[in-house]
Symmetry: C2
C-alpha cells in the first residue's frame, strides 16, 4: 500500500511527519519554514475556529483586524516584549522591485524604494493594538474593551516542524483592556478556562492548567497562564496561553483612562492566543500507525459510507438505503460522505479513511441488506460491529459521542499515568528517559536553577499547576527549600 507510514515505535518524529503529509493535512512550501495547509488540514482548523469563535463571542468578545506591519518605533516601545521577539522578526525594508538591468526578465529590489522606517511583520500584535487603543480609550465607559483577531503571524524560527513550529502560522489573539487589575486577572483566567474547555471537550485533549515560571513567561507579561498537554511520546505541548499584562503596554503606549472618581490611571491588559499548532497537538495526542484518529467534534467528515456491491442492481438497492440514512444524519448535523467512487476498491477506501481518521465507517453490502444490518467500524478502537438498519442514525449519533469520550478517556488515562513525582535528581533523570511525561518535583524558584536543569536534562518547567497543593520540600537540583512541586517535562 502506498500510504504506509513509519511506525510510532520506530521513529515518533518521522511517524508524525509522514502522517501529516500522507493524511493530506499540510505540505512543505518553497518558503523556508512556512507550510501549506491543505484542504483537509484547513477543514480541521475551520472547525476549531468556528467553535472557539463562538466561545469568544459568548464571553462578550468581538472580532476586529489590525495591520500586519508594525513600524519599528512602535515595536520597540514595550522593551521587554520587543527584546523577546527582536531575534525572530521578518523585516520589510523596501516597497518596490524593478527590472534587473543585468538579467532580462529578472527583478531586483529597487534601492530607491527604501522605507524611511522599517516595518516588522507582526510576531504578535500587542504593540500595534495598544497604540490603537490609545485613541479608543478615554474613560471607564470605554472599558472593558474585549477584542479578538484571527490572523497570521510570523516568527523566524530556526528549527521548524509542520504545524508545531512554523515561521508563519495562523492564530487568534485576544487583546483586552480593563479598568481594574482584578478584572484583567479574571479575564486572563476566564480565557484560560475557555481554552481548557475547548481542548478537553472538542479536541478530547486533557490539559493541565497552570502558570509559567518567570523564565517561560511571555515577553512583556506579568503572568502567563497556560494549558499543557501530553503527547504519546511523553513530551509536553503548550496548547494555549493567556497573559495578564498588568499595565506594561498601557505605560509603553501611554493609554490612560479616567475612572468613576475622575482619577487618571493606566489601563490593565490581557492577551491570549491559540494557533494552528493545535492541529499538531491533535495529531500527536490521538493518532496511531494506521493514520489519524480525529475526535468526532472536530472531524471534517464524521461518518463515511462505503458500498460493497456487484452490479448496478445491488448498487441501486444500497443507494436507496444510504440516501435515507444520509438525510437522517445530515438533519442531525452530522457530516457524512458516501464514497461510491468506482475507481477504488473497498479495501483501498478503508485504508484511506483510516489514514484520514474518519471516526465512523459504515460498509453496506448485498448480504447486509438482506439481513437488514450494516457493518460499522470505529476508527479509534478499530472495533467492527453489526448494527441493525432500524434506528441506525440514532445509534450512529450515540456512537459518535461514545467515541469522543473514549478518545478523551484514553488520552487522560495515558496522561494521568505519566504525571510522576520525583524526589531525587537521579530519579528525575531516570524518569525523563524511561517514563517520559510530566515530572512533579520541587524547585527552588530561581531562574538559574531552571536554566541549569534545562541545560542538563533538556527538561523545562511546563507550569506551576493552578490550585497546587503547598508542600515543603527540597529542590530536586540544588536541595534548597521549596514550598511546592512544579511540573517538568521535555516539550515541543
Amino acid at each position: 500500500m502506498s500510504k504506509e507510514i513509519t511506525s510510532m515505535q520506530e521513529d515518533y518524529s518521522q511517524w508524525y511527519n509522514d502522517l501529516v503529509i500522507k493524511a493530506g493535512l499540510a505540505d512543505y512550501s518553497a518558503v523556508r519554514g512556512c507550510m501549506v495547509i491543505k484542504p483537509y488540514g484547513y477543514a480541521i482548523w475551520e472547525n476549531m475556529q468556528k467553535q472557539l469563535d463562538s466561545m469568544f463571542k459568548e464571553t462578550g468578545h468581538q472580532n476586529a483586524y489590525f495591520p500586519l506591519f508594525v513600524p519599528k518605533s512602535l515595536f520597540e516601545a514595550e522593551e521587554t516584549n520587543a527584546e523577546g521577539f527582536a531575534k525572530e522578526c521578518a523585516i520589510v525594508t523596501h516597497y518596490r522591485l524593478k527590472a534587473d538591468p543585468d538579467h532580462k526578465g529578472k527583478l531586483i529590489v529597487d534601492p530607491e524604494a527604501k522605507l524611511e522606517e522599517e516595518l516588522v511583520v507582526r510576531p504578535t500584535s500587542e504593540a500595534i493594538i495598544w497604540n490603537t487603543y490609545k485613541g479608543w480609550i478615554q474613560s471607564y465607559r470605554d472599558l472593558p474593551l474585549l477584542i479578538n483577531q484571527w490572523a497570521n503571524v510570523v516568527r523566524w524560527e530556526m528549527r521548524t516542524r509542520l504545524f508545531l513550529r512554523t515561521t508563519e502560522f495562523l492564530w487568534q489573539e485576544g487583546h483586552t483592556a480593563h479598568a481594574t487589575e482584578k478584572e484583567a486577572i479574571d479575564e486572563t483566567v476566564q480565557m484560560l478556562n475557555v481554552y481548557a474547555d475547548f481542548a478537553e471537550t472538542y479536541m478530547a485533549l486533557p490539559v493541565i492548567k497552570g502558570v509559567k515560571s518567570a523564565n517561560e513567561r511571555f515577553a512583556g507579561a506579568v503572568d502567563t497562564y497556560c494549558i499543557e498537554a501530553l503527547m504519546q511520546d511523553g513530551k509536553a505541548l503548550q496548547a494555549g496561553t493567556s497573559h495578564f499584562l498588568g499595565q506594561n503596554f498601557a505605560k509603553a503606549f501611554d493609554v490612560k483612562f479616567t475612572d468613576k472618581e475622575n482619577k487618571l490611571d493606566f489601563v490593565w491588559a490581557t492577551s491570549w492566543g491559540v494557533s494552528t499548532r493545535l492541529i499538531g497537538a491533535l495529531v500527536m495526542a490521538h493518532s496511531d500507525d494506521q493514520g489519524l484518529v480525529l475526535p468526532p467534534k472536530l472531524a471534517p467528515i464524521q461518518v463515511v459510507i462505503v458500498p460493497i456491491f456487484k452490479g448496478e442492481e445491488q448498487k441501486q438497492l444500497i443507494d436507496e438505503k444510504v440516501i435515507a440514512l444520509m438525510q437522517q444524519l445530515k438533519a442531525a448535523g452530522i457530516s457524512v460522505k458516501y464514497d461510491d467512487n468506482d475507481n477504488n476498491r473497498p479495501g483501498w477506501k478503508f485504508a484511506e479513511y483510516e489514514m484520514k481518521g474518519i471516526p465512523v465507517r459504515i460498509a453496506i453490502g448485498a448480504r447486509d441488506l438482506a439481513n437488514n444490518v450494516v457493518e460499522v467500524a470505529r476508527r479509534d478502537t478499530k472495533e467492527k460491529m453489526s448494527f441493525s438498519m432500524d434506528g441506525l442514525s440514532e445509534r450512529i449519533i450515540t456512537l459518535l459521542d461514545e467515541i469522543q469520550l473514549a478518545i478523551f478517556n484514553k488520552a487522560k488515562n495515558f496522561r494521568d499515568d505519566r504525571v510522576t513525582p520525583a524526589d531525587t535528581w537521579d530519579e528525575f533523570l531516570k524518569l525523563l528517559d524511561e517514563k517520559p511525561g510530566f515530572i512533579s518535583a520541587h524547585w527552588d524558584g530561581t531562574g538559574e536553577t531552571e536554566d541549569k536543569i534545562k541545560e542538563l536534562a533538556k527538561a523545562t518547567i511546563r507550569c506551576i499547576p493552578l490550585n497546587n497543593e503547598l508542600e515543603n520540600g527540597k529542590c530536586i537540583f540544588t536541595g534548597n527549600a521549596s514550598k511546592q512541586r512544579v511540573l517538568f517535562a521535555r516539550a515541543y
Copy 2:
C-alpha cells in the same frame, strides 16, 4: 449632536470618510496606508465571508492556506504577472533586529541577518500556489483542483482610502486548475455569477457583468471578467474579478498533467477574488447624510429595540413584551439588540442607530403598550409606522425582506438611469461631468485610444458587458470603426 457628518452634496469624499469613522467601521492606523477594521466593520465582513464561503463550498471549492511570502525567484516566474505587481510590493530583506549600540532601548535591523533571497509579501498568490500545484497535479484524476483562500494581501498603493484602496487588505482568492480550456472558462464565468448573485442578493448592489479590455486586464490573465457597480456620486467601482489565466501559470511553473489519452499537457487555470473593498462599496451605494444604510442580509444587527419609559414599573412591563418579541425574532434567525442602557436618552440612541444603519428600529413606550402597538422605523426610507403587537415578529421578518428589496431597487433605478449612450466626444465629456455614470460608447478597440481617453477624460473602460449587442458604429474618440459599445466611467 457629536456624530454629525459632512453631507454628501457638500463633499462626497469627505462624507464617505466621516461615515466610515463615525459609524465605527474602521480607523486609520500608524502604518502608512493600512487601516484598522473595527468590530462593527469586521462584523459586516464576517457576514460577507460566511455567505460567500457557503457559496464557494456549494460550488465544490475547499479552503486552504498558502504562505504569506513569495521568494523573489518564484514571484518573477510569470513575467507579466510579476511586472504588473513589482512596483507595489513590500519586500522582506532581513529576519532579525538587534539592540542599537548607539541608542539604549532602541533596535536596528541586524545587517548580519540579511536573507539570501528576498521575500515578497504576497500581493496575490498565483505564483506561490502554482509552484505548489506542481507537486499536487500529475494526472487528469487530480483535476479539477478547486481551492479558495481567505487571506491578507499587501499592495503598496500610493493613494489610499479606507476600505476602497489600502496597502494591506483582506480578501479571498480562488485558484483552480482544470484539464481543459472550456472547463476553466466555465469556472471563470461560474464564479463571476456567484459574485454577481452575492452582490445583488446580499449587498443589494446591482452590478453589470462584463469583460475587461486588455489594458485593464489582470497581469497574467488571458481574460478578466468583472462585476461593476455604480456609487451614488456616479463613479463606478469594480466589485469583483474572475480571471481566465489560460496556461500562463502552468507554463511558468511547469505544471503538466497526463490526460485520459495519456498525453501530457499544461494545466488550465482560473483565479478570482473579492476583498474588504466591498465594504466600501456597500457604504457608498446605499448610505445617506444620517449615516449608514445596511441591507438586512448583511447587517450585524438587523433590529434594535429602544424602550421609552418613566420609572421601573413601566420598564418592567416593556421588558416583558420585548423579551417575548426577541425570542421570536431570534428563533427566526434575526439578529436583534435591546438597548435599555440608562445612560443614553432615546433621541441619542435613535441617531446612533441611524448612523450605524440598523435596518429596523422598534420603539416601545407606555402608551404603545396600552394601545398594543409599537413604533417601527425603517432606516432606508426613514418611514415610521405603528404595528400591532399581535403577529409582530412575522411582520418584522417580512419588513426586513421588503427593506432588502427596496434598497436594491433604489440602487438599481439609480444605476439604470445612469447608463447613458454617448455618440460624440463632446457629449461624452459633458455626460461625465453633468450626469456621471456608465457611458455607453463606441471604441475602436485599441489600447492607445483607451489611454488617451483616460488621460483626457479621466474615464476608463469599465467593461465590455457580457452578451453585449453588436452594433456597427464609430469610435467616440478616433472615429474609427467599432462593432460594439463599451461602458466607460470614472471609477474608484
